[in-house]
C-alpha cells in the first residue's frame, strides 16, 4: 500500500533530467571522497610519527567514508518507492554511525598511545628530521 502511495505522489520516469542530476551528484560525491582518501593514504605514509598520522587517518577517514556511502546511496536510488527510501535511510544510518564513532575511536587510540608512554614528536626531533630531509635533498 505504501509503495503505491509513494509512487503515486512522486511518479517520475527514471530517465528524466532530475534523475540524471541525482546520479551525477552521487557520482561526484564518490569521486571527491576518493580524492580525500588519497590524501589520507599519502598522509599515513608520509607523516613523521603516530600522532600526526592519526590526524591524517582520523579526519580523512571520516569524511571520505561519509561521502562515498552517501554517493552510493544516491546512485542506487532508482525510484521513489518506500523500499528505496528505506535503503537510503539505512545507508545514511551507517554514515551517522561512522560520524559518531570514528572521532571517538581516534581519540581512544590517541589516549591509549599517550598513556602507554609513546611520546609525541618534540621540537628537537622535528629539527633533526628537517635537517636529514634537507641533506638528502641536496644530495
Amino acid at each position: 500500500m505504501i509503495d503505491t502511495l509513494a509512487s503515486a505522489v512522486l511518479a517520475e520516469p527514471v530517465n528524466s533530467p532530475g534523475w540524471f542530476l541525482v546520479h551525477a551528484i552521487g557520482v561526484s560525491m564518490g569521486i571527491v571522497g576518493l580524492i580525500f582518501f588519497l590524501g589520507t593514504a599519502v598522509g599515513v605514509v608520509r607523516f613523521p610519527d603516530f600522532y600526526t598520522r592519526m590526524h591524517a587517518a582520523g579526519k580523512g577517514d571520516t569524511l571520505s567514508t561519509m561521502l562515498m556511502l552517501t554517493g552510493f546511496g544516491l546512485v542506487m536510488m532508482e525510484d521513489f518507492s518506500a523500499n528505496s527510501w528505506l535503503l537510503l535511510l539505512k545507508i545514511l544510518g551507517i554514515v551517522l554511525f561512522i560520524f559518531i564513532t570514528t572521532p571517538t575511536s581516534s581519540h581512544a587510540l590517541m589516549r591509549a598511545a599517550f598513556e602507554d608512554d609513546e611520546m609525541p614528536l618534540g621540537e628537537e626531533d622535528l629539527n633533526k628530521l628537517r635537517k636529514r630531509r634537507a641533506k638528502s635533498k641536496s644530495k
Binding site: H23, V27, G30, L34, F37, L38, T40, A41, V42, V44, V45, F50, R53, M54, A57, D61, T65, M68, L69, F72, V75, M76, N83, L87, K90, I91, G93, I94, F97, I98, T101, T102, T104, S105, S106, A108, L109, R111, A112, A113, E115, D116, D117, E118, M119
Partner: protein, 105 residues
C-alpha cells in the same frame, strides 16, 4: 553505468589501500598498525556496499556493512583499553624506576 561506477570505485579503493598496508607491515609502533587496520576496517564497510551493488542485493549487504562498522568500533575500543590494562602490583613496583610520563590535571 551503476556497475561501472562501482567497479571503478572498488578498484581504486583497493589501490589506495596499498600505502596503508605498507604502514601496517612497516609501522614502527604497534599503534600505527592498529590505526591503519582501523582505517581499512572503515573502508571495508564501503567495499561491502560496492559488492552489494554488483550483486544487485544492496539491501542484504547494507546489513553486513552496519555490522562491520560496529565491530570495527568495538575493536578500536578493545585495543585502546588493552593498553590501559590492569597491571599486577609487583610488576608495577618493578617499573617504578622508569616513571610514567603523564600530564597533570
Amino acid at each position: 553505468m551503476k556497475e561501472w561506477f562501482a567497479i571503478i570505485m572498488g578498484a581504486s579503493l583497493l589501490v589506495l589501500m596499498i600505502p596503508i598496508l605498507y604502514r601496517i607491515i612497516v609501522g614502527p609502533t604497534g599503534f600505527d598498525r592498529i590505526l591503519c587496520a582501523n582505517v581499512i576496517g572503515t573502508k571495508t564497510a564501503v567495499i561491502l556496499v560496492i559488492i552489494g551493488t554488483l550483486f544487485d542485493r544492496v539491501d542484504m549487504f547494507v546489513d553486513f556493512a552496519i555490522a562491520y562498522a560496529l565491530l570495527n568500533f568495538v575493536g578500536a575500543i578493545v585495543v585502546s583499553r588493552y593498553f590501559n590494562r590492569t597491571v599486577p602490583l609487583q610488576e608495577m613496583e618493578k617499573d617504578k624506576a622508569k616513571p610514567r610520563r603523564r600530564l597533570k590535571a
